[in-house]
């Protein structure tokens, strides 16, 4: 096995991006993701890359827009309020069908909120990344190793489908250190980008990158075509992990840090003879509908454990088609549910035989 190193989640994202061939990073500091920018500031100049601290988050995402149009792997990172500022640029990038990688290491909100971990940007990432009809591929790591793996994966998915892939992490994932193996990451070579604005050299017609279509007829066509691509992504790219679901009577739905906490609670509940398992979505969009659909015919109750007022729970209800009760177990504002709190929720529901 390869040598592992201890790294912060934020640093793992940065190093994985470099390994994936990203040589252009634009950002603006904000806790709890600043280590990404700091790492890039150190490394990029040494490998012929660009690190630029932009004058604002809005400037940074528009620099991403430009470099993506030129056909290079490019990224930016921020935390909740900073990502909100990027929403206009994200929409333009979607409208121009450009690949990019955007990292959101979430903190408590709304507003400036706080700097402690949160998952309350689930809606922003999966529903409302910006104005207009568009999607982003949303990847939710639950370990430092996954921070690295999903970054690499994010770049290849972004290139493959010509859209933004977003890493949706949280303050815990960004700040914690775990052993990580970086030499076995599934890096894919960058595909040809014949659409990139690289200069015609008088050999071909101009490539134009644009998100403005004044003819509604034409704009409608681009939307339909884009959603055909989204359909393929929904069919092919959903990722999830199941934990002890085989014989489960109760199911936890959780991603990221909430899944880590829930695992402790599940282990303790199992010791007490309660058959509880977990479905951990790794892609939040596309949401892994299939395992939840299957669980709806198997379990008596689903508990959605979240660091929000209940956002993913809507997707869980849609995926289970409301065939089983789904309840929320949560903390917000930078607080993290404890394993004891999740265990209590499991015990309470098991005690009622799964009924609401």
């Amino acid at each position: 096995m390869a040598d592992k190193v201890l790294m912060k989640g934020n640093e793992a994202i940065a190093e994985a991006a470099i390994l994936a061939g990203c040589r252009h990073y634009f950002g603006y500091p904000i806790t709890p993701q600043t280590e990404i920018a700091a790492y890039m500031a150190k490394r990029m100049p040494k490998i012929g890359g660009t690190f630029l601290q932009a004058e604002s988050e809005i400037a940074a995402i528009n620099m991403v827009y430009g470099v993506a149009a030129a056909g290079y792997r490019v990224m930016t990172s921020s935390s909740s309020p900073g990502v909100a500022l990027k929403s206009e640029g994200l929409s333009y990038i979607a409208g121009a069908d450009l690949p990019s990688l955007v990292v959101n290491v979430q903190r408590g909100g709304p507003g400036l909120g706080g700097i402690q971990p949160s998952q309350s940007d689930y809606f922003m990432a999966t529903r409302a990344g910006g104005h207009g009809d568009f999607r982003m591929i949303v990847l939710a790591p639950a370990s430092v190793q996954e921070m690295a793996e999903l970054t690499v994966k994010g770049f290849s998915l972004a290139d493959q489908y010509r859209m933004t892939a977003m890493i949706l992490a949280d303050g815990t994932m960004g700040q914690m250190m775990e052993p990580v193996a970086l030499d076995s990451l599934p890096v894919s070579p960058m595909p040809e980008k014949p659409w990139a604005t690289t200069g015609t050299k008088m050999q071909r017609p101009h490539n134009i990158v644009n998100s403005l279509y004044l003819s509604p007829d034409e704009l409608e066509k681009t939307n339909f075509a884009r959603f055909e691509r989204y359909k393929q992504i929904e069919e092919n790219e959903a990722m999830y992990e199941e934990y002890l679901m085989e014989d489960a009577e109760y199911c936890i739905a959780a991603f990221g840090i909430a899944a880590r906490v829930s695992k402790n609670a599940i282990d303790e509940a199992r010791r007490r003879g309660i058959r509880v398992g977990m479905i951990r979505p790794i892609t939040l969009w596309p949401f892994p509908v299939a395992p939840f659909k299957k669980a709806a015919g198997q379990v008596k109750h689903v508990i959605s454990v979240e660091l929000s007022m209940g956002q993913m729970i809507e997707d869980v209800r849609l995926a289970t088609e409301c065939r089983v009760p789904v309840t929320l177990c949560n903390r917000v504002g930078g607080m993290i549910p404890s394993p004891e709190q999740v265990l209590e929720a499991i015990l309470k529901i098991a005690d009622q035989g799964g009924k609401q």
């Binding site: 806790t31 914690m176 250190m177 775990e178 695992k263 404890s338």
Partner: protein, 181 residues
Amino acid sequence: MSTRQFLFSGFGGQGILFAGKFMAYKGMLDGKHVSWLPSYGPEMRGGTASCSVIISDTPVGSPIVSTPDVLVAMNLPSLDKYEGSVATDGMIFFDSSLIERDVKREDVRAIPLAATSLANEIGTPTLANMVLLGKILASLGEFDEEKIAAVLKKVISAKRADMLEANLNAMRAGAQSTGLI
């Protein structure tokens, strides 16, 4: 040992995060699953700092330590804040040159060490954290100089390689003070 949870706490600047990082690296080199999670935010700038370290035979679930098996307190506010959270039969290591009171709990093992004074005596006043770490490892029966040197090589950057011997020396001083080496 299946899982051991550490909470390192003290003032920002005492090397709390570094001590935790040492322990996490040691666990990793021992082939265990490990996690290290710092407190982050304004409290790091002059106030209290803490970090959670978990070393386990199985993959680590929650990286947050709320009931430490081992509490390391390098100042009074930390001891006040975390003493009550320590697991029954857990251990509390504290710097008795900075903390003038005793541990109140009777269901835990309290191990005082005048780490800051000792660090001053051996001429490395900034290494009280390593003095205490030496004592912790000795008390856990894990003081193995060869292993410690290997871990130090990992956690001390190449630029500061000259500090390796001083760190080892501080840990030795802490370990010997227990009479367990």
